[in-house]
C-alpha cells in the first residue's frame, strides 16, 4: 500500500511539474522582440572611447506566436544582461573567449544597473519606461587594449506589476548595426556563426 501511494505521489508530482506549465504562473504567455543599436559602429576604438548601446521599443507589442498586439506596459523586470569577453584566439571546439566585464566602465543613461550573477563576465540592467516606451542606453568604455566582444542577452520571465502571471519573453537583438563579426571569425578559424551569434554579438578592437 505504501508503495502504491508513493508511486501515485510521484506520478502526480511529475504531471504537475511537467504538464501544468501555466499552473501557478510557470509558463510564458507572450513572445516579443525588440532591437538594439550600437554606435558609432567602428571596428576599432581607443581606450577611453565610448560605444553606445541603445534600445527603444513601444510598450504595445506584437506577440510573435499569435500576431496579436498586446499592451505590455508596466513591466516589473524588463531588462537585459550584457556580457563581455576578450577574444583570445580559438578554433572549432575552443571558443577562445575569456570573461572581461571588469575591463570596461559603464555609463548608464537610460535604465538601472543591477547586480549580475557573474560580475567578472556580465552586467545587468533594467529598462526605463517612459511615454509608452521602454528605453535603455548604456555607454561602454574600455579600460585596456585587446580584441573584445559584447553580447546582448534575451529577457526571460518578464512580468507586469499589475499581473505577475502575464509572463513574457523578449528576443533582444542588434539591428541596423555593423557588428564586425568578421573579427570573431578571424579569431576562431573554422567556426560558423549561428543566427544567435549574428543577432546578439558585437565585436571590436581596442588600441
Amino acid at each position: 500500500m505504501k508503495n502504491i501511494c508513493f508511486c501515485l505521489l510521484i506520478s502526480y508530482l511529475g504531471i504537475w511539474a511537467s504538464c501544468n506549465k501555466n499552473f501557478d504562473c510557470r509558463g510564458t504567455i507572450y513572445s516579443f522582440e525588440a532591437f538594439a543599436k550600437a554606435y558609432p559602429a567602428k571596428d576599432s576604438m581607443h581606450i577611453g572611447d565610448t560605444i553606445w548601446l541603445e534600445l527603444q521599443t513601444p510598450t504595445r507589442l506584437k506577440d510573435i506566436t499569435s500576431g496579436e498586439m498586446v499592451d505590455y506596459s508596466g513591466a516589473a523586470n524588463f531588462g537585459t544582461v550584457i556580457g563581455y569577453v576578450e577574444l583570445t584566439g580559438g578554433d572549432l571546439l575552443n571558443p577562445g573567449t575569456a570573461p572581461a566585464a571588469n575591463d570596461f566602465n559603464n555609463i548608464v543613461v537610460n535604465g538601472t544597473s543591477v547586480q549580475p550573477l557573474r560580475p567578472e563576465q556580465l552586467r545587468e540592467f533594467l529598462f526605463k519606461e517612459q511615454d509608452n516606451r521602454y528605453l535603455f542606453k548604456v555607454g561602454i568604455v574600455p579600460k585596456k587594449a585587446g580584441l573584445f566582444m559584447v553580447g546582448l542577452d534575451n529577457a526571460a520571465g518578464v512580468y507586469q506589476k499589475s499581473n505577475s502571471c502575464r509572463k513574457s519573453s523578449f528576443q533582444l537583438t542588434f539591428k541596423d548595426t555593423d557588428q564586425h563579426l568578421y573579427l570573431l571569425e578571424e579569431s576562431r578559424p573554422g567556426y560558423v556563426l549561428s543566427e544567435y551569434d549574428r543577432g546578439h554579438l558585437y565585436a571590436f578592437n581596442v588600441y
Partner: protein, 204 residues
C-alpha cells in the same frame, strides 16, 4: 495525436513525447539512485510547493533546492533531447519555461527542443528557474561550442548521455557533487573546460 490538458489547451505529439521522456527519465534515475534518494527528491518538491514558484521553489533552500536542480535538470535535458531525436525539425513550438522556442530559431537546423536547451540562460536573474541547469548537459555533449558571453561560454564537447547518466550515483545530491563525479569518472577529459562550463552555470 492530441491530448486534452484543459478545456481549451491541446498538446501535440512531441509535447506529449517530451512529457513522457521527462517522466521516464525520472523513473530511470529513481532506478539508479534508489528509494532513499528518491524519497528525499519527492519531499523536496512537496516542501517547495507553497513557495510561490511551485513545485521547484527559488533555488535558495539549500539541500532541498540542490536535489531538485539535479533531478529536474537531467529530466528536462533528456525530455527535450529525446523529443528532438524522435521529432527533429517537425517538432512543434516548445516552452522550456523561459521562451517559446521554434524549429530553426535561434539556431538553424536545430529543432525547437534543441534550441530550448542550447539557449537556456542560467544568468537571467528575472528567470526564476535559472538554477535548474537544463542546458548544461547538451553543452557537455554538442560540438557547437558557443563563444558566449551570453548565454554561456561553452568549451566542452563529445560527452555522451551514458557518461552523464553514469555520474548520477546514489550519493550524488548536488550539481557540484555531480560535476566532481563526472570529472572523476572521465579523467583527463577536458577537465578544466568542464569546470569552466559548470561555472558558467554558477556551479563552482
Amino acid at each position: 495525436m492530441f491530448r486534452q490538458r484543459n478545456a481549451d489547451i491541446t498538446a501535440t505529439s512531441d509535447e506529449m513525447g517530451e512529457t513522457v521522456f521527462h517522466e521516464l527519465t525520472h523513473a530511470a534515475h529513481h532506478n539508479k539512485v534508489g528509494n532513499v534518494w528518491w524519497d528525499d527528491f519527492v519531499k523536496a518538491e512537496i516542501n517547495q510547493m507553497t513557495t510561490g514558484n511551485s513545485p521547484y521553489g527559488f533555488g535558495n533552500a539549500g539541500a532541498t533546492s540542490q536535489i531538485i536542480a539535479l533531478g529536474e535538470s537531467w529530466a528536462y535535458h533528456m525530455g527535450h533531447f529525446l523529443s528532438d531525436r524522435k521529432y527533429g525539425l517537425i517538432s512543434s513550438p516548445t516552452d522550456n519555461l523561459q521562451f517559446i522556442y521554434n524549429n530553426n530559431s535561434p539556431i538553424t537546423n536545430y529543432s525547437s527542443h534543441l534550441n530550448a536547451l542550447e539557449d537556456f540562460g542560467p544568468n537571467r536573474t528575472a528567470f526564476l528557474d535559472r538554477w535548474i541547469p537544463q542546458g548544461l548537459y547538451l553543452d557537455l555533449i554538442d560540438t557547437r561550442n558557443e563563444p558566449g558571453p551570453v548565454p554561456v561560454i561553452d568549451g566542452v564537447s563529445n560527452f555522451n548521455n551514458q557518461q552523464l547518466f553514469n555520474a548520477l550515483d546514489p550519493d550524488i545530491r548536488t550539481m557540484l557533487q555531480y560535476r566532481d563525479r563526472l570529472i572523476g569518472e572521465n579523467p583527463n577529459n577536458q577537465t578544466v573546460a568542464v569546470r569552466n562550463l559548470f561555472a558558467q552555470y554558477n556551479i563552482q
